[in-house]
């Protein structure tokens, strides 16, 4: 038997945008008839390719994530694989039974009770009444909806529907599970439980295809990831590599900034010579230094725009001091996506090579410890100043020069996330907790 679960070759899907002019009267009805029995619409400006020539293979037991912007074709692809939409070209071969969860409430009918919907849903997947009966206790228990299972679905909240839908899908014993954004609904504890179940499922040779806008979920649960854009495969590879690339592309992250070209160091200095009469502390008026470049580095020293919360973040700045004994130190300002200052990183390494500057180039690296910042996007403002107890003299500053994205820790490793999906706040330190039992 083949060792792949899904193989997709040149899969394409064209949607009609439906801008065709409709005629009135009997002519319009006849036009409709010719559309119904005649040829399919041809490629023109009123059509759009949601998928274009997509090919990939999924091995059995693989957990494949799909990332991409809205309209990149992720949901279309999952729809085709779950056979609710037809491809326009290409083919897909699927080995094994497929269960798909496309958005909330897959195939539930409002007037039926939870239990009746379980039967109905199971029969869509080819389970007999008897087979369903055997699974009902497990499904109901997993969904935690014992009290409501004989209540019509129309009284359910969207979270309850999602729970029931996931519980059914997870117990249908599929070989291949297609999940589209399903884990983004329901409460956090249940989402965690679902992920655990997905984890258990994949241990038994099950294949999972997973569409999510949450890079953290993809990173945690997928071994491999495909980045789709405008119906094309942009990148296909290990989940962390692809999500990194996608995040830095979609958030326009900037891990490196350079202000001065290497071969032109003299230009500003000559300009400064003019102002030499106006002196501060025996030196000309600021600036006394300028920024050359700034970079976000990972723990291992390579340039990166996405960092895991379990890793240190290294902010590097290269600058040039114009005068001897200038007393120049760098600073960073870390700003959250909501434009809130997370903290100011002031220079504290007194007594180092910087304490008595010469007119040279320097490189400083500030190390932000792991488990300090929360997940999400951060901006970095970098600057140079002369510290003093009075007025701080700024020599150069670049607002939001750098940006990076902090992503969640891999599933199972220590993080300050706890059982939650997201914790608010600019920082999220991993604290030590001490507990003891008190007896009166």
């Amino acid at each position: 038997m083949e060792d792949y679960a899904i193989s997709v070759h040149g899969l394409s899907k064209r949607y009609s945008l439906g801008q065709k002019k409709r005629r009135h009267g009997a002519k319009g009805m006849l036009q409709g008839l010719s559309e119904l029995f005649g040829r399919a619409p041809q490629d023109d400006h009123s059509t759009i390719w949601a998928l274009k020539d997509v090919s990939f293979e999924v091995k059995k037991g693989e957990r494949l994530g799909f990332v991409g912007k809205n309209g990149a074709g992720k949901s279309t692809l999952l729809k085709i694989l779950s056979r609710v939409a037809y491809p326009t070209a290409g083919e897909a071969r699927i080995h094994g039974r497929v269960t798909s969860l496309l958005e909330v409430g897959t195939g539930f009918l409002n007037h039926l009770t939870g239990r009746q919907n379980i039967y109905l849903n199971a029969s869509f997947h080819g389970l007999s009444k008897k087979e369903t009966e055997q699974r009902i206790p497990d499904i109901v228990e997993f969904s935690e909806l014992e009290r409501f299972i004989d209540t019509p679905i129309k009284f359910y909240s969207s979270g309850m529907r999602a729970r029931l839908a996931f519980s059914v899908a997870a117990h249908l014993d599929p070989d291949i599970l297609l999940l589209d954004e399903v884990l983004s609904v329901g409460d956090m504890a249940f989402a965690q439980k679902c992920l655990q179940r997905v984890d258990d499922l994949t241990k038994g040779e099950r294949t999972i295809l997973f569409v999510s806008h949450s890079m953290d979920s993809v990173r945690r649960f997928c071994t491999r990831c495909i980045w789709l854009d405008c119906g094309h495969v942009v990148m296909d590879g290990p989940a962390d590599k692809v999500t990194d690339a996608f995040t830095s592309d979609s958030m326009t992250l900037r891990a490196h900034q350079k202000w001065v070209a290497d071969d032109a160091p003299e230009t500003i200095k000559s300009l400064l010579d003019i102002r030499e009469e106006n002196t501060v502390n025996g030196l000309p008026e600021s600036p006394h230094a300028r920024l050359i470049s700034a970079t976000v580095l990972a723990q291992d020293g390579r340039q990166t725009s996405t960092v895991c919360v379990t890793d240190e973040i290294r902010l590097e700045v290269v600058f040039e001091v114009f005068f001897e004994k200038a007393n120049i130190v760098p600073y960073f300002r870390i700003i959250t996506e909501q434009d809130v200052l997370a903290f100011n990183a002031v220079y504290t390494n007194l007594g180092s090579v910087l304490s008595d500057c010469s007119a040279l180039r320097y490189r400083s690296v500030a190390i932000i410890p792991s488990h300090l910042l929360n997940t999400g996007r951060y901006f970095v403002t970098v600057g140079l100043c002369t510290p003093s107890s009075g007025k701080v003299i700024r020599h150069d500053e670049s607002q939001r020069a750098l940006s990076f994205y902090l992503h969640e820790a891999p599933y199972g490793s220590a993080s300050a996330l706890g059982p939650y999906k997201k914790v608010p706040g600019a920082i999220r330190p991993l604290l030590k907790w001490e507990d003891e039992i008190l007896i009166d």
Partner: protein, 279 residues
């Protein structure tokens, strides 16, 4: 369904082609679903209503009472060879079975559309199940028929053996018509109006309240072009022993049903493909 569940199988997803017709094997594999979809509709029909059975019986019974009264007072010659009440009531229940089946099947894409976007199943199960569900109404409506037949001392002959055949033919006709109009309904709502007009007028031009013998010869042959004529007359012939089976008319009706069934299924599949893309 063992074949489906125990063996891993391969599904090939390809662009639909016109040559690709009904996958009968797949329909058989999904027969459990057909059953549960039909029983779901039966439950919806009778479960939600406190007077479910009353509503099924009220229409044909009241119409029978009214038309029998009219015939009495007008002394009109209907041309039926069996007591009018039995003739009329049997016609009405088959006619209403047909029209309900057609209109439910024609609405199947719009009622099950939300489901079709979420989960795969052979789409033809949707109109098919709505027609099967209507059999329950027919079964209930035939109880008064037996009482009427008993009252007049009417007994079925050997032709009763053909009753399932006639019913199947009527269902095939309803299926074809339903599928065709389900497909057309995705294009424009005009077709829904046309269908309801046809079904309404059909009651009066089909041999439901009158018998063909009432009509002049020329009108009789035109009226036999209506595919429901053969079905209605065939239905009576299987119920009443002294009612002659109109073989030619019925075979014409069967042929018509077969052709319409193919056209309907073709149109339905075409419409369903384009319908899914419009979401």
């Amino acid at each position: 369904m063992p074949s489906f569940h125990q063996n891993p199988y391969e599904v090939v997803i390809k662009p639909p082609t016109s040559s690709q017709f009904v996958d009968v094997k797949e329909l058989i594999r999904f027969r459990g679903l057909l059953r549960s979809m039909s029983s779901r509709q039966v439950r919806a029909e009778f479960g939600d209503l406190h007077l479910g059975i009353f509503w099924v019986l009220a229409r044909p019974l009241l119409m029978t009472v009214i038309f029998v009264f009219f015939r009495r007072v007008s002394n009109a010659n209907i041309g039926a060879s069996v007591p009018y009440a039995a003739y009329l009531y049997s016609g009405l229940i088959l006619w209403f079975f047909f029209t309900e089946s057609v209109s439910r099947a024609a609405a199947s894409i719009s009622t099950d559309g939300a489901l079709m976007q979420k989960v795969y199943f052979p789409r033809l199960l949707s109109p098919l199940s709505s027609i099967l569900a209507q059999l329950s109404g027919l079964a209930i409506a035939s109880i008064p028929l037996f009482l009427i037949m008993g009252y007049y001392g009417l007994v079925p002959g050997w032709n009763l053996m053909l009753l399932p055949v006639v019913l199947l033919q009527t269902m095939l006709l309803a299926f074809g018509t339903g599928c065709l109009f389900a497909a057309l309904a995705t294009l424009s709502r005009d077709w829904e109006r046309l269908l309801s007009l046809l079904l309404y007028i059909g009651l009066f031009v089909s041999p439901v309240i009158f018998a063909p013998d009432m009509l002049p010869k020329a009108a009789q042959s035109i009226h036999m072009l209506n595919p429901m004529s053969g079905a209605l007359l065939g239905f009576r012939a299987t119920l009443f022993s002294d009612y002659v089976l109109p073989a030619n008319e019925w075979f014409y009706s069967l042929l018509f049903s077969g052709v319409l069934g193919l056209v309907g299924v073709y149109a339905f599949q075409r419409a369903e493909r384009t319908f899914m893309d419009r979401i």
